[in-house]
């Protein structure tokens, strides 16, 4: 299953949409893992748009499961990279050259969409020029409010901060600047009392 209906939440939590063809003068698509399927769906609806698009794709453990089909969808350019960290300088470079009229399409995990959107916003892209669609894993990118380190692909609540080692609970409070949810010490008031780990949305 690559689609997931998120339960209603607080006002800072992003509501992901569905990618739709839009008028523009340039098109940048960034996807990871199952996000490729959303791009392929978009290409079916608007092959011309895909032919004009620059696509950055991070298979993230899905190997070639989607990459061949994505290539066959006929993107203008296609970069397939091993990780977001590896692709980040390239994405920044593309945004530095970009002009108004650019339309951005982000799809895949929340972590991918969050990080790519943060880069796009920092480069001056108007927020309403960015579309999103969630596909695949429901893992979250979390920031530890204590040490400020980011832990990627968090699947449980609570979890252990990959940087400072504190046990953190998963909040729905979300920062678009960081592209991350907030993680807060779960045993601050009763040190050592850690509730049992639960899978997110279980």
């Amino acid at each position: 299953m690559t689609r997931f209906t998120f339960p209603p939440s607080i006002a800072s939590r992003p509501v992901w949409g569905t990618l739709l063809p839009r008028k523009g003068t340039a098109f940048l698509m960034i996807a990871d893992a199952e996000g490729a399927e959303a791009l392929i769906d978009l290409a079916k609806a608007a092959p011309d748009l895909m032919a004009a698009a620059d696509v950055v794709y991070l298979p993230k453990g899905t190997g070639t499961r989607f990459s061949d089909a994505l290539r066959a969808a006929g993107p203008g350019t296609l970069y397939i990279g091993p990780s977001f960290d590896a692709a980040e300088p390239r994405i920044k470079r593309m945004l530095a050259d970009a002009r108004m009229g650019l339309q951005i399409f982000l799809t895949g995990t929340e972590g991918l969409m969050g990080r790519a959107m943060a880069l796009a916003l920092a480069a001056g892209t108007p927020v309403d020029a960015i579309q999103t669609e969630h596909r695949g894993s429901v893992a979250r990118r979390m920031q530890c409010v204590h040490c400020k380190g980011f832990t990627e692909d968090v699947m449980t609540d609570p979890f252990v901060c990959a940087h400072c080692g504190l046990n953190l609970f998963v909040r729905d409070h979300y920062s678009r600047r960081f592209g991350a949810y907030q993680g807060v010490c779960v045993d601050a008031e009763d040190p050592g009392v850690i509730p049992p780990q639960k899978e997110l949305y279980s």
């Binding site: 008028k23 002009r99 108004m100 009229g101 650019l102 001056g124 108007p126 927020v127 309403d128």
Partner: protein, 321 residues
Amino acid sequence: MSAGTSKIAVRVADVIKVNDLVTRFRFVRRDGREMPTFSGGAHTVVEMKDGDRTRLNPYSLMSDPADRSAYSISVRRDDVGRGGSLFMHQKVKPGDEMVISYPVNLFSLDLRASKHLMLAGGIGITPFLAQIKQLGHAGGNFELHYSVRTAALGSYVDELTAAHPDRVHVYYDDRKQAIDLARLLDGQPLGTHIYVCGPKGMIDWVHKTARAHGWPESAVHSEEFLAPQSGKPFSVELARSAKTITVGEHESLLEAIEAAGVEAPYLCRGGACGQCETDVLAHEGTFIHNDHWLTEDQRKGCKKIMPCVSRFDGRRLVLDR
């Protein structure tokens, strides 16, 4: 609870004819103190005491926002309007005492912009004059495209082109020159914001063309003050104050409410800010909504009216005032 509208008692220091249609007014404080600073794009509401009538019209501040000695506005004469601009042109003289509001900005620069692309038509130049001075102090990146009817009616063209020869582009209607918007929209750096002020047709054209070129709404800013329209007189019951008033042909509903001594909130008096939104308690007839504020659903719901610009045609209207 309503946002306050602080007033400033001023004296008219200068009245200067800019051209056949436009006159500039300079106001200084009567108490000798400094004017408040303001942000480029702000307007002030000028109270005009014309016999037993009081009109309140908004005008963009065009002076340097950092200059605290005086405020300047430019007023274009409108021979067929409700008379506010004619009053300013014909009756206001240097030395007159007037009252103006504190500055209010509904057309402010987005200071995040990598570039400010300004499009002005005619008297729509005035907010840009202040914004350009503000950006000048901060070394901001701007470009102005200014469309005028003729050289003779091109208010402030000379001073703008002298101060910013590389940034200001002027287009003359009578020479068949026009802003090539499609070309302008192409290739602007990410983070560019567009600002347009001018006639309604120009504003609609800019929004529509920008949309077609993939510019999102949040990057396109416009300011259009709607002058209240004249229309058939109608009567209104003010439920809370237990008064029945008649709105005259050349009077706005808001002005009629005020003339009856009933306090009503306002800021822009041009249908843009939402401050004067008033609940409708009962009605038999048709609303003539002229504002930019109410949504289509609210208009259909017939429960709200913006008395600064909107009117009514029918047998009975009861407002919560």
